[in-house]
């Protein structure tokens, strides 16, 4: 069923994209003033003697021309070596490896929650367009879209603390595999906050797709066969609405991978958003490059997965 040629072409495209990302991030980083030395020593870097500075530059590898640095980096990546953090000397690979699961789980959980709520509410609204339930759900989704995430996040943290004396666990990240409850106490609330906007978007798409699909010719055919409304909804309307919903979910999920920084700040989650944000503030090139590359890889993978999913869901795109 898999079309290998298609997959090959897609993989090649993905590779080119990633190479592009690599080059762009490299160039972008170097347009920002300040270098690794000022980042790591702060104002104390002013006290360095030229010899000290030169030796540090050599240590950080920033004394070489930029293309040499780029090349060194790319060839490192090819060997799975993302370099060392300038600020704490840890290997970027290990930093990314420890923060990746947090962000991925955060994104996956909020996508799951968001999609579940979004689809259910969207169908609810779409199956009775114009009714009170429709207006209500639509209104709620608009509010969900409109509240800035940091306001919602802070509100959740504050309310939990004030009213319930509860604070989501901020200790060492507990992987799901170790303890479900321990993991949930860290991930659940931030996921819920992220899920709000996600659900609102999914709801809106589901609703409009539902309304549109309900008008399709084949739905009329199905009704003409005497099927019950529930059957028509499940087998015909919803099944065809899956594709746009999957697309949207995929896009949103992709964004989420690189867009969890605010929630990670507020809930003190050691994810990639925070890693990236801190690294950018610190001018920690290797970490920024590594994190961006990994996020881009994830994004590209998600896209590939969505495409693959499509081809599984939609018989028209399946290779025959």
């Amino acid at each position: 069923m898999l079309n290998w040629r298609w997959l090959g072409a897609r993989a090649l495209g993905a590779l080119i994209t990633l190479l592009g990302v690599t080059v762009v991030v490299f160039v972008v980083l170097r347009t920002i003033p300040g270098d690794a030395i000022t980042a790591s020593l702060g104002i104390e870097s002013g006290t360095l003697t030229p010899a000290q500075r030169a030796s540090l530059e050599h240590f950080y590898g920033i004394d070489r021309p930029w293309f040499a640095q780029l090349w060194a980096w790319i060839s490192g990546v090819a060997h799975g070596d993302l370099g060392l953090s300038l600020t704490n000397g840890k290997s970027v690979t290990s930093l990314v490896a420890s923060s990746l699961p947090v962000t991925v789980e955060l994104a996956v959980l909020s996508a799951l929650i968001g999609t579940a709520f979004g689809v259910v509410l969207g169908v609810l609204a779409g199956s009775r367009p114009g009714r009170a339930s429709d207006s209500l759900t639509q209104g709620a989704s608009l509010v969900g879209l409109a509240i800035p995430e940091f306001v919602l996040g802070t509100a959740v943290v504050t309310i939990l603390a004030e009213a319930f004396h509860y604070f989501p666990d901020t200790g060492t990240f507990v992987p799901l595999t170790r303890s479900v409850s321990g993991n949930m106490s860290q991930i659940l609330y931030p996921s819920l906050v992220l899920a709000v906007a996600f659900a609102a978007n999914v709801m809106r798409t589901t609703r409009s797709e539902y309304v549109e699909m309900a008008d399709a010719d084949y739905v009329r055919t199905a009704r003409g066969k005497g099927l019950s409304p529930g059957r028509v909804r499940r087998s015909h309307i919803l099944r065809n609405a899956t594709i746009p919903i999957v697309t949207l979910t995929g896009i949103q999920f992709g964004y989420l991978l690189g867009g969890t920084v605010i929630i990670e700040q507020i809930f003190a989650l050691p994810g990639m958003g925070r890693l990236l944000f801190t690294a950018i503030s610190n001018r920690d090139y290797p970490v920024v490059q590594g994190t961006v590359l990994v996020i881009a890889v994830l994004f590209v993978l998600v896209n590939l997965l969505v495409d693959l999913l499509y081809r599984m869901i939609d018989p028209r795109t399946r290779a025959s």
């Binding site: 009329r220 055919t221 009704r223 003409g224 066969k225 005497g226 099927l227 019950s228 018989p315 025959s320």
Partner: protein, 334 residues
């Protein structure tokens, strides 16, 4: 005269529009007997599809039958509540649609699309499957077993239309309504579909309502014809009678405007002047009056009902005998 299997009496259907409700059907009368084909002809927008959808109870959101009856073997379908109506739909009245490309669910295997209607009407899984295979064979599709597992996009237009027909006739309905089932197809395929439906009609003894705008098709298949204009039936007659002596100037104009064999290079084709009226701006009297050469004063004020005229029924105040000239309803200049 035996009771027709399907009779439509004074059917009015309206739809909600941004500028208020709009009457699309303004009193449609039809009837068709068992084993017979009724052709419904008319220009685009005259209300043919609405008639079909009103009969099947499949009107789009915002549209509803406001008065009139749809009698299936004497039982008024309009009066039924939706759950009962559903038991009729598909089981007793089957529908085939104009566009075979969009009328099948692209995400569902052919087999399932044929069987789901049967299952909805209480067929067991196996029985439905067997029936589906049989019926796919009957509509002339090769290797029905294998076909069951295909998706619509793997079939050509003609094959898809056959699948739609199979879906419709699988539960052995009493009436088959076909809304322009061949318009989207090539002539050679159209010919095959016409033959197929005729054969099925005879084998199953069902009544067929065939909607078309092609008078050639009418001539080939229909026992009876209903001509629709601006949401009403303007003429209802047996096919031969209608072609021989149309009693409504509109029907007359339609027939004359067809290219005829002979030397076509000689004279221009006769044509009906003017353009169809908009349903939202109907004139007070006969809706055809503004285009009609036989028009009398009365036509501008009073809308004619269907009047019996020598075995046919036509909605025209002016009897054919009083027409000014046989072709006067028709102008011949472009």
């Amino acid at each position: 005269m035996s009771e027709p299997i399907l009779a439509v009496r004074g059917l009015h259907t309206a739809i909600r529009t941004p500028s208020g409700p709009l009457e699309i059907l303004r009193g449609v009368d039809l009837e068709v007997d068992r084993g017979e084909t009724l052709a419904v002809v008319g220009e685009s927008g005259s209300g043919k599809s609405f008639t079909a959808l009103s009969i099947a109870g499949l009107l789009p959101a915002g549209a509803e039958v406001t008065s009139g009856q749809v009698l299936l073997e004497g039982r008024d379908l309009v009066a039924l509540r939706e759950p009962e109506r559903r038991t009729v739909r598909g089981a007793e009245v089957g529908m085939v649609y104009q566009d075979p490309m969009t009328s099948l669910n692209p995400m569902m295997r052919i087999g399932r699309q044929v069987t789901e209607g049967l299952r909805a009407h209480g067929w067991s899984k196996d029985a439905a499957r067997d029936r589906a295979v049989t019926v796919l064979g009957e509509v002339g599709l090769p290797s029905p077993q294998a076909l069951m597992r295909l998706y619509p996009h793997q079939l050509s237009g003609g094959m898809r239309q056959r699948v739609l027909i199979a879906c419709a006739i699988a539960p052995r309905p009493k009436v088959l309504i076909a809304d322009e089932p061949t318009t989207a197809l090539d002539v050679t395929i159209q010919q095959q579909i016409i033959q197929l439906v005729a054969r099925l009609r005879d084998e199953y003894g069902i009544a067929v309502v065939w909607i078309t705008h092609d008078l050639g098709v009418v001539a080939r298949i229909a026992d009876r014809v209903a001509v629709v204009y601006a949401g009403r039936v303007t003429e209802l007659a047996r096919t031969r009678a209608l072609f021989a002596t149309p009693h409504h100037p509109y029907t007359d104009g339609l027939l004359r405007s067809l290219p005829t064999p002979g030397d076509p290079h000689q004279a221009p084709l006769p044509q009906i002047g003017g353009s169809p009226v908009a349903l939202s701006a109907l004139p007070p009297g006969c809706p055809f009056a503004p285009r009609c050469a036989q028009r009398q004063d009365r036509c501008d004020t009073e809308e004619p009902p269907l009047i019996d005229r020598a075995g046919s029924r036509a909605a025209c105040w002016v009897p054919r005998e009083d027409w000014r000239a046989p072709s006067a309803g028709v102008t011949s200049r472009a």
